[in-house]
Symmetry: C2
Subunit: 296 residues, 2 copies
């Protein structure tokens, strides 16, 4: 039996790496160090869950593959910049990411701040290239979706709530809101951008948004479980950090068993939202299952 999801991951990983390689030629001047740092962060790391979500959603609507890969790279550039900045000494002060030294450890802090900023700008640069869509309306809507999902009303807002949670005990409602922003917003944007590329109007995206909301929450519950139960070598980053920082998580609030059951329930529910697509949505359904069953 062919490994649909495994093959899809392998293919998207290659495509994203090639695309970043083409987006980021190293200049022949003193900016070389900056671009090398961007390449260090963008190429050859990460599972590429977000680009795969874009591509798998776009496939439902027959979107050109290269266009969807470009949009996936834009989201991945945002994801990569956020990891670089989150790893900084003034934030989480992490040493390892994807099994390699974090960017500020490999280069230096100033380069890490700047490389993150440049990947942030690159994301929007990519989305406005005609290769991503020949339709300026689609390009503008992709930018709007990603800017909203990554700023203070999305990912970065969730990151701020996360920082505050070290000093303030959150309840389950607050933790859910935090995670919907910090992790969920960018996962939801990935699905949304696949639909934007497919020219599906907002009213035709309800089932996709429901799918994205469920997998976003399941993803974070799985992350919280991995933080408690995972293997640092497989994760390629430091674990057991939540407990060390005294943070509330889905696991501390619900217990590991109930958290796992909740994640499994969300994934099943996510799959049901896509039932109308039949076999066409198999990749998205398997991706949802992967999200809770992954060991890293």
């Amino acid at each position: 039996m062919p490994d649909l999801l495994g093959d899809a991951f392998e293919r998207i990983q290659d495509e994203v790496d090639s695309a970043f390689d083409a987006f980021l030629p190293v200049p022949q001047d003193t900016r070389a160090r900056l671009v090398e740092a961007m390449r260090y962060a963008a190429i050859g790391g990460g599972k590429r869950v977000r680009p795969l979500l874009v591509v798998a959603t776009a496939e439902l609507y027959g979107v050109n593959r290269d266009a969807a890969v470009n949009a996936g790279c834009a989201i991945e550039a945002i994801h990569a910049y956020s990891l670089i900045h989150d790893d900084l000494p003034c934030m989480d002060d992490d040493e390892l990411r994807h099994g390699k030294p974090t960017l500020h450890r490999k280069f230096d802090e100033a380069t890490a701040v700047l490389a993150g900023d440049c990947l942030h700008a690159l994301a929007f640069d990519i989305l406005t290239q005609p290769d991503t869509s020949s339709d300026p309306f689609v390009r503008a809507e992709l930018v709007a979706t990603l800017a909203r999902a990554s700023g203070h009303e999305g990912m970065a807002g969730g990151q701020m709530m996360d920082i505050v949670s070290e000093q303030q005990a959150y309840d389950l409602r607050q933790i859910t809101r935090l995670q919907q922003l910090k992790t969920g917003a960018l996962l939801a944007a990935s699905v949304e951008m696949g639909a934007v590329l497919g020219r599906i109007p907002p009213e035709g995206r309800t089932h996709l948004r429901a799918y994205a909301r469920d997998i976003g929450l399941a993803f974070q519950i799985a992350d919280d479980l991995l933080d408690v139960e995972g293997d640092e070598t497989k994760a390629g980053k430091a674990l057991r950090k939540d407990a060390g920082q005294g943070k509330q998580t889905f696991v501390t609030l619900m217990g590991a068993e109930q958290a796992r059951a909740q994640a499994e329930m969300l994934v099943e529910q996510a799959g049901r939202h896509l039932a109308g697509h039949g076999e066409d949505a198999r990749l998205l359904v398997e991706l949802a299952q992967f999200i809770v069953r992954r060991d890293h």
Copy 2:
């Protein structure tokens, strides 16, 4: 005699402050601190040279004023984020900005990194709002212009060259290139975006680009002169930093007198590029003169 430039500055400062106030309502949750930090950086600080450039250029082509103010706010959001990140301890480690404590001093470093990132995203969010342009082609082109000007091929690339210049002596050609990127790219984008809003095709923007290139260089020469000769109280930030870091500047390479003459020459030349617009370009011409004659 009415003070055309003084009135224009006063008006745009009010407009930009009001617009940011509207873009950034403080949320009723733990993201409040983040949005307060964004407001601290974005409201009530800076001369608003870049928004005035957008508005004055857009006026040449009869663009709706609110649309041009929005685009000006987007550039100012990028400018503000770059100042926050440049002021960080791992970068320039500055204590004062616009006469107030820098953001990481007033809040903390993690909030400063995040608030900068959020202003960065806000810039693109603003540009994709229908209020900025009802034409998605214009919105997409505004985003493309700003993303390119602010990333590794523009402002942030110049910032990296600047960091490297502390260890490596640059010649005049390299300093010119550095400044064209670090300061010039965003000033040029301001003029360019005014033309994009006016639906002027690239081939009709040659004279504007020439104007922008000249004032960009003049701006930086004036900055280098101010770093040597300026008053810290008026500047609202630390000066004499270039010499302390052993950096080459236009002043160290050309001498103060020749640098001043060069800046004056560039400003005259900038004005001549706009001769075809006659009196309509008076504000842009006066703005160019202000750029070299300002005392802060």
